[in-house]
Every structure is written in structure tokens, then in C-alpha cells.
Symmetry: C2
Subunit: 431 residues, 2 copies
């Protein structure tokens, strides 16, 4: 049963969420990488691996992008070939779509608890490698006939940090009676959209799946995205990307201390270890490495109105681990701290979005990236309306798209990268 927030919107939610936080016992402590329980550094490669060979590893990657002048670099990267499930259960109460959300602790979260989708499980989770408890509500996403899939596609995660990592993003509608287990709560789509305007409440996995949940469902006749797909295909066809896994110890400009894996100049990110104790997780105690970005990032789109229609500027992004040669990302995605010393050239449009006056800021909230792999990885999510001086034609490697077109693309794999999907979820909250 949904909860009545009609009189004082979201008060009921906030009370429940605070109660969940009190009921959640957890302890996250940083631990040196070379003494991380269950993990070891392979002496031959320097790669950081689990002693079972499962879960994930931190290795090296050499990337070569041929387009124009071309560019090549090497970096550490998380290798996690398993495909997990991010599943959102939807049910209409009195005709109003509600989503079954979970208050979930992740060790990398800056604020411990955030709202995850109904199911957020690696393959190890739900096939029992963790030897933990069964995953609640999993059957709605794995047993045919338990619900109607509204969206179901493999989608990639952070290409800068993961090598070809993908999760199965599912939205499934059920008409069954579904009990609200402890830690889970039915929220209306409007409530979830309102919560997206608050900092660090809706977690990355939720945002990724919410990209496929517009306020007004597109209906059975999606728009024609042929012209948009054609422009994107032209960019991909001109860009040849090759990737080669290399030993982590052979990655130049990075080194390992007893505690962490770090960039020589402190840029980009480091890899650290944590020991975790948590009362309400399927495994009560474990240790794991996390990737800690260098400072809060910016994930921003420049938008332009034409009549009622909003269009946003997307960039065809090729990052180290992007599954396909390129995926469509936001206009800007970076951590400004990497550019403050003036050594690296500042990304295009960064200054433009950060210096926009308040009346042109359509969306502005801080959200966290996946706390199961990333440590305090916050990004400021911005949608900024262009002024009259902003170029009308998309620059090389960019294209304009409407939220409706993006919602059609997100039904398929590898069009929108995770940052674009997360910001699309935010766009759905705008009128």
C-alpha cells in the first residue's frame, strides 16, 4: 500500500527514511590495500584481485583512440565482467504509478543510506557466491510472467572507471499484491521525482533505471529517432578505439603506496580499501577496494528551448572502458580539481555551465555515484539553459536531442552513458 503524503508532501517519507537510518548499524573504516582481508596484489602484474578470482579486480588498461590527431593513454581500471540486475518494480495504486524503493547502505556512500531500486544485485549476489541471504523481490525480474517489462536493456556504467561494465536495467510492472518488506517503501513516481531535487537521496542505480521512467509515458508509438541515430552513427564510424589490458604495475604515471593506488600528481582518482560492518546487508562483514575520485565532479547539460520543446547538447564520449567505441554523454563531465593547476586544458563548456546565472539553471543537485565501488563520489548535476550567444549548431562530436528522443534511445543498449542516463532522470522532473 502506498503512503499518504497528500497533506505534507514527503514528510512521511522523511520520517521513514530517518527511522531506517537509525535502524541501520554500520561501520566503514579505511584500511591499507596491502592488508585488505580477502584481497591480494598479484606479484607478477601488480593487479589487485580477490583471492577467489571473483567479484572484481583493479588492473591496467592501455587505450588508443584514432580520430583526428588521435590520443593514447594508460590508467588503472576496475574489471568486473559480471552483469548484475538493477530492477525497479512498478505498480499502479488507484491508477498512479508507484515504485518500490529500498533504503540501502553502501560502504562508499557519503551519507550511508540512499534509495536504491527494488533489486540492486551483482550476479554473485543473486547466484549465491556471497553466501548471503536471498535477494528480496528478485523473482519479479528473473521469472518470466511475474510482471510486464516496461524497459529491459544492458546499460554501461562509468567508462572512466570500469572496463566495459554493464548492468541489466529493468523496469517491471506488476499487478500482484506485493508486501512492503522492512527497508522497502512504495513511493509514487512524483515523489521520487521530487526527491531527485534533493542531494544524495536517489542513488546512481536508481537514477540509471529512472531514465526509462518519464513522468508522461511515451505510449506505444515512440518518436522516430532515425535522424538522431544517424548522426551518432556517423561519429562512431569515424572513431576507431582499441583497448588492451596491461599489468597494473606497467601503467605509467601511477604508483602504489602501502595504502592506496595513486596518480603521481594526485589527479583523477585513487584506489583505497575499506573494512565494513553492516547489520542489514546479506553479508554482515567484509573488506573491499573502492575508487575515490579527485574531488566533486560536474555532470552538466546545456539546454535550449524552442517553444515547448527542450533540447539538450550531448557529447559522444569515448572513455577508457566505454563498452562501444562511443556513447552519448552530457555536455560536460569532469572533476574540476584536475584542471585547477592549469597543466591540463579545461574541458569545453565547463566554465559556461558553472558561471551561468541562477535564472538559467533549470536543475541543480548533488548526487552520488555507486557506493558499492566508489568512495564519496559526488557530482553536481546541472541543467543550464543556453543564452542567445550559445552556438546553434552542435560542435563536432556533439549533437542536440530532446528528452523524448533520449527516452526512446534508453530502451536500447549503449546509446546513453550512465551520466547521460542519470541526468535524463533529472530532466524527467522538469515540466
Amino acid at each position: 500500500m502506498p503512503h499518504d503524503n497528500a497533506v505534507t508532501p514527503l514528510d512521511g517519507f522523511h520520517h521513514w527514511f530517518a527511522t531506517r537510518a537509525e535502524a541501520t548499524h554500520y561501520l566503514v573504516e579505511e584500511a591499507p590495500l596491502d592488508r585488505l582481508e580477502g584481497w591480494r596484489v598479484d606479484p607478477g602484474t601488480g593487479n589487485l584481485v580477490h583471492r577467489t578470482g571473483r567479484f572484481y579486480s583493479v588492473e591496467g588498461l592501455a587505450v588508443d583512440v584514432r580520430e583526428g590527431a588521435g590520443r593514447s593513454w594508460s590508467q588503472p581500471i576496475i574489471v568486473q565482467p559480471e552483469i548484475g540486475i538493477l530492477g525497479l518494480l512498478v505498480k499502479k495504486f488507484d491508477g498512479v504509478p508507484h515504485l518500490l524503493m529500498q533504503a540501502k547502505m553502501e560502504p562508499g556512500n557519503i551519507n550511508t543510506l540512499q534509495l536504491s531500486p527494488t533489486v540492486q544485485a551483482t550476479r554473485s549476489n543473486y547466484t549465491g557466491v556471497h553466501k548471503g541471504n536471498p535477494v528480496p523481490y528478485l523473482a519479479y525480474f528473473t521469472e518470466p510472467g511475474r510482471g510486464r517489462p516496461l524497459a529491459d536493456a544492458l546499460q554501461s556504467e562509468q567508462g572512466s572507471w570500469f572496463l566495459g561494465k554493464r548492468n541489466r536495467n529493468m523496469v517491471v510492472e506488476t499487478t500482484e499484491d506485493v508486501p512492503e518488506l522492512e527497508g522497502f517503501r512504495w513511493l509514487s513516481l512524483a515523489e521520487v521525482h521530487a526527491l531527485l531535487h534533493l542531494d544524495n537521496v536517489i542513488n546512481m542505480d536508481s537514477r540509471s533505471v529512472l531514465a526509462a521512467c518519464p513522468a508522461e509515458p511515451a505510449g506505444a508509438a515512440p518518436g522516430d529517432v532515425t535522424a538522431l541515430v544517424s548522426r551518432f552513427t556517423a561519429i562512431k564510424a569515424a572513431r576507431s578505439v582499441s583497448r588492451r589490458r596491461i599489468p597494473l604495475k606497467d601503467v605509467p604515471h601511477w604508483h602504489r603506496t602501502a595504502d592506496r593506488i595513486v596518480h603521481d600528481e594526485g589527479r583523477f582518482f585513487s584506489v583505497l580499501g575499506v573494512d565494513v560492518q553492516a547489520g542489514d546487508r546479506e553479508v554482515p562483514r567484509w573488506s573491499q577496494p573502492l575508487l575515490a575520485p579527485a574531488g566533486r565532479g560536474v555532470i552538466a547539460m546545456v539546454a535550449r528551448r524552442r517553444g515547448d520543446e527542450l533540447r539538450v547538447l550531448l557529447r559522444a564520449n569515448t572513455e577508457a572502458g566505454t563498452f562501444d567505441g562511443a556513447e552519448l554523454g552530457p555536455t560536460v563531465r569532469c572533476a574540476p580539481a584536475n584542471y585547477q593547476d592549469g597543466v591540463l586544458p579545461e574541458p569545453a563548456f565547463l566554465d559556461y555551465v558553472l558561471s551561468a546565472p541562477g535564472d538559467r539553471v533549470l536543475f541543480d543537485a548533488v548526487h552520488s555515484e555507486e557506493g558499492g565501488r566508489f568512495h564519496h563520489a559526488e557530482n553536481r548535476y546541472l541543467v543550464v539553459e543556453a543564452d542567445d550567444d550559445f552556438p546553434y549548431d552542435a560542435p563536432d562530436g556533439y549533437l542536440w536531442a530532446t528528452p523524448g528522443e533520449m527516452t526512446e534511445l534508453v530502451r536500447h543498449s549503449h546509446y546513453l552513458n550512465v551520466e547521460a542516463r542519470c541526468l535524463l532522470a533529472c530532466l524527467h522532473t522538469l515540466r
Copy 2:
């Protein structure tokens, strides 16, 4: 201007095609691999490479598929990271869609000339690496605004023979006056569909692009493929595939003679060399390796009618070089010669499609795979109607789809593999 075949259908075409064959001067001679002009065997790896490092190479690949019992193997494979253009120009004459087809010689063709799309060019072709003549009609596919894209997506080619090879498959409609250059001819879609019933006339690249050209255009409101995409996503999510390029000399069960690269038991394929002289190609004389399959293959779908609707059984295929973890292929795809000695288990449904009585054979023609890379690579393309005993539920790893659903999927990358696309082009010719 289109040509009038109204009285005697296709007579005009056949006369023109015979004239083209007479006007085409060519000579293809097999040449030992170790004396192939411009090519060399790398002494460290045994890989067969061009002396410039361009075009393509023959290397080794180790594949590991984790699903159920899992399977692992190694094999030689063609590595060609470049993305070429397969472009079909469409124009309506008196409201009837016509396609600009080219009579094109390829060195591996069993019958020299076949009909290619308007543009069939590797990136080396059209960016001038070959130092050959400019590619006719290229501008319609590379200059925005010269035509309206009806379909434009990267599509993969033979996963058994290529590592992640993709071409940009484009259908572009123009309203300009387009001259019919020598070797090119406007054919109506109905004529091309009729030619698909003849052996070895419509080449692989044409068939691949024709998959996006149904007899009745789908219009602006494509059907909802969410349920189908969901079933396919479930299969992909359960299948983890890892690939590793290895030196060709380290591939077990394969060896090199002075002439060829061959399997120890003569199975699967060999790699041979040819010297080519051709009067009408952009480069008049060259040498190259070709992959020669072990005997004529079978590419077949089992179909089932329900009222007016046809549904075909697709298999989620993971081959060595499949770009994504799996793509949807035909019910059966194999070379029966590999199984005649009884050492390897016969593929599912092979006997079923080959032993079907004539009244259940809906389509039957022999077509060639890409003559620029493959030597005399013929396949029998079959669509066979299921009898009442055929299982109604799709077996594990298979799914049923209508040609309309497949036509919607082919607008996007990596749903239908090249064999499924080629057979979809044939399905479009059925009423």
C-alpha cells in the same frame, strides 16, 4: 531513370548484367601465402599482416564463454578494426522506390560479378589509403543534407571469422537527379526482391542493408519490441564472454603450410592468398589473403504461421568475434561438412531444416558471403515452415520473432547478426 521491365520482368536487368560481365576484365589466381605481394608473416607472432600495418590481419583469438557448462576455444580470426560504409541510395520514380545497385567484382566471388549496394567501401577506400579512384556517390552518405537517412547503424559481420568487425549500414533517400554511372543501375525494390530468389546475384553487403528495406515500409510508428528485447537481454545477461587476442602461432589445432593456414583436421576454414588483376576497380592489381570456408554452409530459419503472421525462431549466438556477448542469429548456421565424420555433435535443427518436404520450404536460394574477404563462401539460405510436432516454446537460448519486429531491431546495432539480417532481407520477399 529506371528501366522498363514491365513486359518481360528482369530481362532488361539480365541483359545489362551480362554486358557488365563481358566488360569486366579480371583474373584471380591463388598464390602461396608466404609469397603474397605486400603481406608478411610476423616472425614473433606468426600473424599474417600487411607490410603497412593497414587493411586487415589474420591473428589468433582465445575465447571463454561462461554459461552453464561453459566452453573455451582458440582459432585464427580476421582483425579489421576499420568501419566501412555499406550505403544504399533510394529514390522514388513515379512513387515507386528504386535502389541504385552496382555490378561489382570481388576476388572471392564464385561468379565474379554480383550486385553490391551503391557504396561498398572500407575506410581505407574512401579516405584514400588505397590511392585509388574516388568512390562514386559517396557524398550522399557522408555529407549531411544530401539525403534523408532511412536507416543508419553499425552492424556486425561474421563473428566466426571476424573479430568485432562492423560496417555502417545506411539507406539514404534522395530527391536529387542522380546520374546512372557505368556499372550502376536503378532497380525497383520489387526487382531486387525478385533477384534475391536467384543464386549468387545479390551480394552479402546488399543483403545486409536490404534487411532494413521491407516491401511495406513500417511507417513512423514501429511496433513495441520491449518484450522481445527483454527476452534477449535476459539471455545476454546470463552469458559472460571474454576474448583475448593471442599470437596466431599459439593457436592449437591449426598450422601453416607454405600455401595456407589450415585446421589440423581440415575443418572450419583455411586462409589462402590470391593475386588479382581487375580492370574496373579503384586499384587495378593487388594481392590479398582470403578465408575459404570448409564447404557450402546452411543458414536457415524455422518459421511458424499464426493467421497472417509469420514468426521465425532466432538463436542468441555467441561466436568468436561477436561484437557484443551475443547477437540474434538464424535457427541454424553451420557448414555441414564439419560434422559429416561424426566427431563433432551435429547442430540442433540442422537435420530438421534439410529434410523438410518441399511444400514447407518457404525460401531456398544459395547466396555468397563478402567476396572481398571470403573465397567461394556460399550458403544455402532456407526458410522452413514448422510442422505440428515442432516445439511451440522456444528452447533455451532461442526466441520467436516476427519479421516486423526484426525490421524494428535492425534500426539499431547488435541485435541481428549478419546471417539473420541476410535472411531477413529474404523474408521481406515473402508475401
